[in-house]
């Protein structure tokens, strides 16, 4: 106890931001130290991309407009699917923290507790960005070509990040509500699987029956996939970009306060 302690003396809002920054660093360190999960982040996207492209490519390419290869069509869908599943790691991380004693430690500190959620959600952006880059590079190796302009790519990156953020906050709600990590796994699976498969991620919606099509065309993942796909292929984007942005912002507006409220209540 020889050295006198020096405390930060800054406005409350700055301290709250600093708390979030500390927790983001913590969660990012988790990503880098958790080698099993890191391997998954690298290899799962490669596996999905190669399997879908080679297994479905032959059959589905017949249903595509002429001049578009299935790989080019698939790219947007597979990225969004991977990112949607990837966001569920937020749920696991939040649930893990709540199950273990560490949440009591954080709560006994004079910190902003929501920083814990911010840390997991923001670090998820990092992991999903790694997955997306791996997927794009794999795509390029097996023949994916895009004619998108630099501006289009900027829009693509922005949309994917916004979508990841929205789904990570949804996942945060699951992480808070679920009673165990096992529950998180099946809950997120039940949530994400129908949304990604009953969408235009892997097949054109024109081939679906009418009931399924109504759902598929109007749900958020289709909007995001269609927007990203049009930007990648350089075809007209129509309303998809705006609808995708509105969906994502809508999810965020509901999910952030809801997750925060549930988190405060659960940890109280």
């Amino acid at each position: 106890m020889a050295t006198p302690l020096v405390f930060e003396n800054r406005p409350k809002i700055i301290m709250a931001l600093l708390d979030s920054w500390i927790m983001i660093k913590r969660s990012c360190t988790h990503i880098l130290r958790n080698t099993d999960q890191l391997l998954g982040t690298f290899f799962q996207p490669i596996m999905f991309l190669v399997l879908f492209a080679t297994v479905f490519g032959g059959a589905i390419s017949k249903a595509l407009p002429p001049g578009i290869s299935y790989l080019d069509f698939l790219m947007a869908g597979i990225i969004i699917q991977t990112v949607a599943f990837g966001s569920t790691t937020t749920a696991v991380a939040v649930c893990n923290d709540l199950q273990k004693g560490i949440i009591d430690r954080f709560r006994s500190l004079p910190m902003n507790n929501l920083a814990v959620l911010n840390g997991h959600v923001v670090s998820d952006l990092l992991r999903n960005s790694i997955s997306t880059v791996v997927m794009l590079l794999t795509g390029l190796i097996i023949g994916f070509r895009s004619h998108a302009s630099a501006l289009n790519w900027l829009a693509i990156v922005g949309l994917i990040l916004l979508f990841t953020l929205a789904f990570s906050w949804l996942a945060a709600i699951v992480g808070v509500v679920a009673k165990s990590v096992e529950a998180v796994q099946w809950l997120t699976f039940v949530m994400i699987f129908p949304l990604t498969f009953a969408s235009s991620a892997f097949v054109p919606t024109a081939s679906m029956n009418s009931v399924l099509r109504v759902f598929a065309v109007n749900q958020p993942i289709t909007q995001v996939v269609e927007a990203v796909r049009a930007l990648i292929l350089g075809t007209p984007v129509g309303n998809h970009v705006w609808l995708a942005v509105i969906w994502c912002l809508g999810i965020l507006i509901v999910a952030i306060p809801l997750a925060s409220w549930l988190f405060k209540r659960k940890s109280a």
Partner: protein, 319 residues
Amino acid sequence: MNKDYVIEATGLVKSYGDNRVLNGVDLQVERGTMLALLGPNGAGKTTTVRILSTLLGFDAGTVKVEGHDIIRDADKVRSVIGLTGQSAAVDELLTGRENLVMMGRLYRLTKASAKARADELLTDFDLQDAADRPAKTYSGGMRRRLDLAVSLIATPPVIFLDEPTTGLDPRSRLSMWAIIRKLMDGGTTILLTTQYLEEADQLADQIVVIDGGKVIAKGTSAELKSKVGKDRLELVFKDAAALKAARKALGKDVISTDDKEYSATLVINDTNTDVKRVLDALVSAKISVQSMAVHKPTLDDVFLSLTGKTNNQVEQEEQ
């Protein structure tokens, strides 16, 4: 004279549905002292600590820590307390040093200050060699030490130790006790919960015994023991005949006998005069004694007389 209470809880009540886990608990901890909250599992120890450390709301009563109301000024309370819970609350993927620095930063220490303090604590708690390994590679004792170190990062004047040695091997327990004693020497006010009577006896200035959500006794270790009773003298004889003769010679002083061990137990008020009197009586009746021993009451006896159960019985019932 007004005493300088650092922790003051009055009439704490906490229920989960119909289950009333705390039923009017009062506690006062004086500055620079240690109070041990002693009781069996489920007595309400952890609930009390969780309330006092701002983690849990309560239904009735008032709590002040360092003069701050725990409800109105929770953040002020949080900046003067440190908490070490039952399960070591450290981040397993971060190294010991990273854990300390992170918690220091969350306690509002500057980066340089947090790092310097982390170094000090790693040395004090004998964790230098493991400082840069992830905490998941630590042994149970190391984890507890890191956990305690983390709660001391900002040298809070008040520390809550919730069963800090439960599940530790005897050597780790002794080293934990040494660390806790050092903290007490430094003037830290401590509230410790424990199921181990010996731990409360060894460390605490004041002991509060709780059972079923109520305080059933409080005082120093010596005061509690004296409540239970006086010293006892145990005499062992060579056979049943000798025991019978002794019983006759000593009369009503004998409170119990054991016919298998040929032993008799007597209550004594003053060790010198009473032992002499008993021996004189035996000598004049020509009864020889195989062995004799004076027993001071233990906290185990306190526990037995207060709850009607020994601590061992409580533990067995739970299993």
